[in-house]
Amino acid sequence: MVTYVFDGSMEGLLTAIFEYYEYKPGKIQLVWNKHYQPTMLGETHTIINDKAKGERVWNGLKKKMSADWLMKFYRAYLSEVPQTFQDLFDFARYIFDNPKGAEKNFGNPHVMAVSKMNRMVGRERHRFTAFIRFQETADGIFYAPAEPDFNVLPLIANFYKNRFADQKWIIYDIKRKYGLYYDLNTVQTISFEFIQNIDTSKKRLSNDLVSNSEELTSLLWKDYFNSINIPARKNMKLHIQYLPKRYWKYLNEKDDKN
């Protein structure tokens, strides 16, 4: 067995698939360099990203699969889960080695693995269309910190761009240390420096940074949230199932429950 070590990028993953077909080394194991531990036995091959090779594999997948499956492939990739990288590698091989339409074979373990991860990432994406809470800053930008389980920011950029077309906003991924900024025209990727005057360890902006209406609006939202609860129907199990506790710290309506 040969171990392929790659850098966790899409280009790296696609290059690895290309090189598999170049050398046909037999069974291979794909490892993210972040998690790679050299072993005494066994052959190792380090993948050097190659744009041209990556594009050829991507176009090959495009020819063999429908557009929604390309999207599933990309979404599963955004999970950043080590096992999923291996699943995607095996899935791509399965697609290339079989006639067109093979992605519909849900009896195949690689199809099922990618399909399942696509759903998990899709669910996380949906949550981050729902559980983002903006705070209006004194200079009129709406800021929201976030900590998604998977790297879903690329999947929600358009959603927020269409929705809040007439307001400037920032969504910042605290775990991955990058964010999105919409300047009324385009969405750009921003790094930590862009928001360095904000203390990202605190979930709420300090009073000197927020707009005049921010405090009252947040208070009214909490009032509203408390008023619509029906105590006679209380069902905390269901509540937590829908609103897992790890998201609470970013939801102002749950402030007193954190």
């Binding site: 009896g107 195949n108 199990k237």
Partner: protein
């Protein structure tokens, strides 16, 4: 200033919370004027209350002053509660400020009837018009149709709302007359029919292709709600009524709201008694079977079985009553029949249909596809099913399934068991 708006919001949100609809799906309104908001076809729940209900819309009454005295309603005239009313600007500002922070998908606006139907409807209309035309708001708006309001007002409101609804309140006319003698189902049917006809008219005009841009008219359709357990209807009466409204008015949803006692009126369950949550759940399951699983309501409820089982869900109950339909061969049966197998949902059924083209499916593959195998196994045959001489008795299957599952409801005392 801020105290007054806080108090108003608490009163008027509290009064609106018994309307269970919180759906924000089904609209196609796009942000094409570079304004605020864009509706999401699938709807989004931005939060959940501690009772596990979705919070998608800012759901408020314009006012809880009301000229009616319906026994089941918390805002009834004779009830001694705090009353309040929002101004047009207050509702508009709350909606916009909440929406900009991504707290909500939009507004659900209802109202008590003050003065008369037209006066109330005209006020509601003023709010939605301001949101759409002045604030260029493209988020979701669910607007209550006020029974008795003039057709002119309704046709105008439909141009700005995504969904409109009127509540039947009680599942049958008889039940309604008992608790709200001033109201009738005919008053509901008239505007439901009027709006449905207008929706069809707009759609037909669009089909002709003669006029380039037909405005949207109630793009997310109409819904209604009935209160369950305040009056003595059977499950059969409730679901037959729902079925009729789905058919006659092409409703998008019928909501079933378990009655939460809010009054000492002795015609209804007393304050402090448990709301009928299990019953509500079974009714929703039946509703889903009718809308997504191809069941006719008569198959699930009929004079022989006028009530839904409490210990098992209606799909399993149907399967056990019709053992001659099973076992179903996963590898050959049509989609319609696969959907009818307990433990298999719409998603898994579609996957099965696609996957079996590549070879006969085995039980381990079915498990991976995600069916509830422990339930389904009594009703299916697949590639590796052992040969069986005779099929087990329905009662025996029911016992086996119940012994393996533990329902969340069995721990909660049910209404039916009340000692008093």
């Amino acid at each position: 200033m801020s105290d007054r708006i806080r108090e108003k919001l608490s009163i008027l949100a509290d009064a609106a919370k018994y309307d269970v609809s919180c759906s924000s799906s089904g609209s196609t309104r796009k942000n094409d004027n570079k304004g605020l908001g864009d509706s999401s076809a699938s709807g989004i729940c931005h939060s959940y209350t501690e009772d596990g209900r979705c919070v998608s819309l800012l759901k408020i009454l314009l006012t809880n002053h009301c000229i009616y005295d319906c026994a089941f309603c918390v805002s009834r005239k004779s009830n001694d509660i705090k009353r309040a009313a929002f101004t047009v600007d207050e509702v508009v500002n709350l909606t916009i400020n909440f929406y900009r922070r991504n707290y909500i998908e939009g507004l659900f606006l209802s109202s008590g009837i003050f003065k008369d139907a037209d006066f109330t409807m005209e006020r509601l209309l003023r709010i939605v018009k301001k949101l759409r035309l002045e604030e260029r708001f493209n988020g979701y708006i669910h607007l209550k149709t006020i029974p008795g309001a003039s057709p002119e007002l309704l046709s105008e409101a439909g141009l700005y709302a995504d969904r409109m609804s009127i509540n039947l309140e009680m599942p049958t006319e008889r039940g309604l007359k008992l608790l709200a003698p001033d109201k009738s189902h005919d008053e509901v049917k008239k505007p439901l029919g009027f709006i449905q006809n207008t929706i069809t008219k707009f759609k037909d005009e669009k089909k002709t292709g003669l006029i380039k841009s037909i405005p949207k008219f109630v793009p997310a359709g109409q819904s209604t709600q009935m209160v369950i357990g305040a009056t003595p209807e059977t499950d059969m009466e409730i679901m037959y009524s729902a079925n009729q409204y789905y058919k006659d008015y092409k409703l998008k949803r019928v909501y079933y709201s378990g009655y939460i006692p809010i009054s000492y009126d002795d015609r209804m369950p007393q304050i402090g008694s448990q709301p009928p949550l299990l019953r509500e759940n079974r009714l929703y399951q039946t509703d889903w079977l009718m809308r997504f699983y191809g069941f006719e309501v008569q198959e699930l409820l009929n004079p022989k079985n006028p009530h839904l089982d409490t210990d098992i869900d209606p799909k399993l109950s149907w399967a056990l009553r019709n053992p001659e339909q099973f076992p179903v061969d996963i590898n050959t049966a049509d989609y319609r029949m696969i959907l009818r197998i307990p433990g298999i949902g719409t998603q898994s059924a579609l996957k099965i249909i696609q996957a079996r083209k590549f070879g006969k499916l085995r039980s381990d593959q079915l498990k991976k596809i995600g069916i509830a195998y422990n339930r389904a196994k009594f009703f299916i045959r697949c590639a590796d099913s052992p040969y069986q001489l005779n099929d087990p008795e329905p009662q025996h299957i029911k016992h086996l399934i119940l012994s393996e599952s533990n329902s969340k409801y069995l721990k909660v005392p049910q209404n039916q068991l009340s000692l008093f």
